[in-house]
């Protein structure tokens, strides 16, 4: 039991939550806008889903490049689980927002 883990570090939970909320705030906002834009572009079935995936990746990349200055080494400094864990955690949330606005604008435009 005397083994010393070099990678062990104590983390401050309130800041982890604050950082995750910062990331999710952008995704919440953009998923609503992108959902309505996919309705405006009159995308249907798989096209809309592909549009969602592509734009979601673009938003995540924009966050990574602008806020984390494109440095992969900075991610463990601010996030425990890394960027993929973060994206998959927020995926269902942004997907729900996207689908809601997509359905709404499609219904408004095509009826």
């Amino acid at each position: 039991m005397s083994a010393i883990r070099k990678d062990f570090s104590v983390t401050y939970k309130a800041n982890i939550v604050a950082n995750i909320n910062t990331f999710h705030h952008i995704h919440d906002l953009t998923s609503l806008v992108l959902g309505s834009s996919s309705g405006i572009l009159q995308l249907e079935s798989y096209h809309g889903l592909i549009y969602f995936l592509v734009t979601n990746i673009i938003v995540t990349l924009a966050f990574f490049v602008v806020i984390l200055s494109g440095n992969l080494k900075l991610i463990p400094k601010y996030y425990e689980k890394g960027l993929p864990g973060l994206v998959f955690e927020g995926l269902s949330r942004s997907l729900a927002g996207f689908f809601m606005m997509w359905c709404l604008t499609t219904a408004l435009i095509s009826t």
């Binding site: 104590v10 401050y12 950082n19 952008i26 992108l34 834009s37 405006i40 966050f63 806020i67 984390l68």
Partner: protein, 136 residues
């Protein structure tokens, strides 16, 4: 920063609404005139929607840029100027506590202080006693 992002949100939403109305008109016209034959959306309507999305994205990312805040140093009671708050907070305990010390507050202040449980009558009595001693 907040004002810039709000302006960008506003312009983006206006562009989206405008392109949405154009898309609606196009759909209705293609329904009635073209007998619901599939007719592609004009390029300018598409571009308008995409530009609106990009503006909202830029506004959202700008809104979390680091900004300078004026913080009161608790120990000396003076205003520490030019303390830059990072966009993301460091999660390492050591660095996080440095920030807390500089801010003079804690994220758990609400739990630690509990202003709802203050015995206000005892405090008032204490204050009145202090006032009485001051007047003498």
């Amino acid at each position: 920063m907040a004002l810039t992002s709000f302006v960008l949100y506003g312009i983006g939403v206006i562009l989206l609404i405008n392109s949405g109305y154009s898309s609606y008109e196009h759909r209705q016209l293609s329904k009635t005139l073209l007998h619901s034959r599939h007719f592609p959306l004009p390029l300018d309507v598409k571009m308008e929607a995409v530009v609106g999305c990009v503006l909202v994205l830029i506004g959202a990312i700008i809104s979390i840029q680091p900004n300078q805040t004026h913080v009161v140093d608790v120990a000396s009671g003076s205003v520490v100027e030019g303390y830059t708050e990072e966009a993301l907070r460091p999660i390492d305990m050591g660095k996080a506590t440095i920030r807390q010390e500089a801010m003079g507050t804690s994220d758990y202040a609400q739990i630690e202080n509990r202003p709802g449980y203050i015995d206000i009558r005892a405090r008032r009595k204490e204050y009145q006693e202090w006032l009485a001693t001051e007047k003498k």
